[in-house]
Symmetry: C2
Subunit: 222 residues, 2 copies
């Protein structure tokens, strides 16, 4: 059942950089390619856009297929279209990135013994295609948005400590932050609130737990 056109058409795919926090580190989901090209190498999850679905819907579908989650933060990143980026045919890919709260990560990734896995962004394997460039673009975007919005909260679980949150900021920004200034600033935004609970772990004072007041909101700061 071939499809014919009067002039050549490229294929169009979506690829997603799916981020979460695991063990206090920013992680990204990668899948191991089962087929050529780049067979056996790691790549961002993605797939071709169906003719009846929007780009955002295609990204949501891929996200659901790989992680089982939906309703999380998902944003179009950039479109990559170098003519030779896929050796098979011309493939233009619309890249997205998603942020998953770290307690919503049960996912297929854990169950599938092989073929899919979380990687710390500090210790990435070789990536197929132009996925290194896509992932770098995603991390740059994330770092930029963390500076001027409350987007980082999209990665936090239902209850978290201020130290965990600061940890995330420091990782994305790649530089240390003063603890007192950080707490003042975050609390002044009025986007998180104390749950009243504490977390006791290890030989030190228990940490107060906080929650995001409105999960669906990403505020621009200032």
């Amino acid at each position: 059942m071939p499809y014919t056109y009067d002039y050549p058409h490229p294929a169009v795919s979506v690829d997603i950089a799916i981020f979460t926090i695991r063990n206090d580190e920013l992680n990204v989901l990668l899948i191991k390619r089962a087929e050529a090209p780049f067979r056996g190498e790691w790549a961002l999850p993605g797939g071709f856009v169906q003719m009846q679905e929007s780009l955002g819907a295609a990204a949501e579908r891929e996200l659901l297929e790989e992680t089982g989650v939906s309703g999380v933060y998902l944003e179009q990143l950039y479109t990559f279209g170098q003519p030779d980026r896929d050796p098979r045919e011309r493939v233009i890919t619309v890249a997205y990135y998603a942020l998953i709260p770290s307690d919503q990560v049960e996912l297929r990734a854990a169950s599938d013994a092989e073929g899919v896995g979380w990687f710390s962004v500090e210790r990435l394997p070789e990536l197929a295609f132009d996925h290194p460039e896509i992932l770098e673009t995603a991390m740059d975007r994330l770092a930029a948005k963390v500076e001027y919005s409350t987007i980082a909260l999209q990665l936090m679980p239902a209850a978290f400590t201020l130290t965990e949150l600061q940890n995330l900021y420091e990782q994305v920004r790649r530089e240390p932050i003063d603890k007192r200034n950080f707490r003042k600033k975050i609390l002044a935004l009025d986007v998180i609130e104390a749950t009243g609970e504490e977390r006791r772990e290890g030989p030190h004072r228990p940490a107060k737990l906080y929650r995001v007041i409105d999960r669906s909101r990403v505020d621009v700061i200032k």
Copy 2:
């Protein structure tokens, strides 16, 4: 000479919002559609991506065809892909926006009596397809970047007055700026310098002229 594929492929186009300053107003270039659909309506210039060219190259080509200019500021904006956005077939469009210095606007637009024209963004005609959404996205991006970068200088001619520059900022931001604070801030950035010339026009004190120190640079502020 048909082109056949095993599964359906969308068409991929680029559309460009080309901005410049005319008569102290932000203008955008539109072309009148000569064919269906939306025949006779105004639209952003654009065209299909050729199989051997990158997306950026396609955008540059369209820009050159419509305005005769090249080497100006050009940035990918967003990719629009609603399945029904073009009634003929599935067309995914990668939108770009370009900023042209107001003294480089001789262009085809002026010579062609019909079919192409500059429009103030304050007085836009009805637009074809989803181009209202694309143009709005472009203006939002421009407004955002003006706040935290020196991108606005990409629209200024070889010599300009501080009042003209302030005028542009006020238009994009849609609110008035204090004259003294504006001058202090811009001059402190060290991105423009006095030419030594003045412009005398009208019954008032002549205005000092300034030029951009490095045209190729767009700085992020702070």
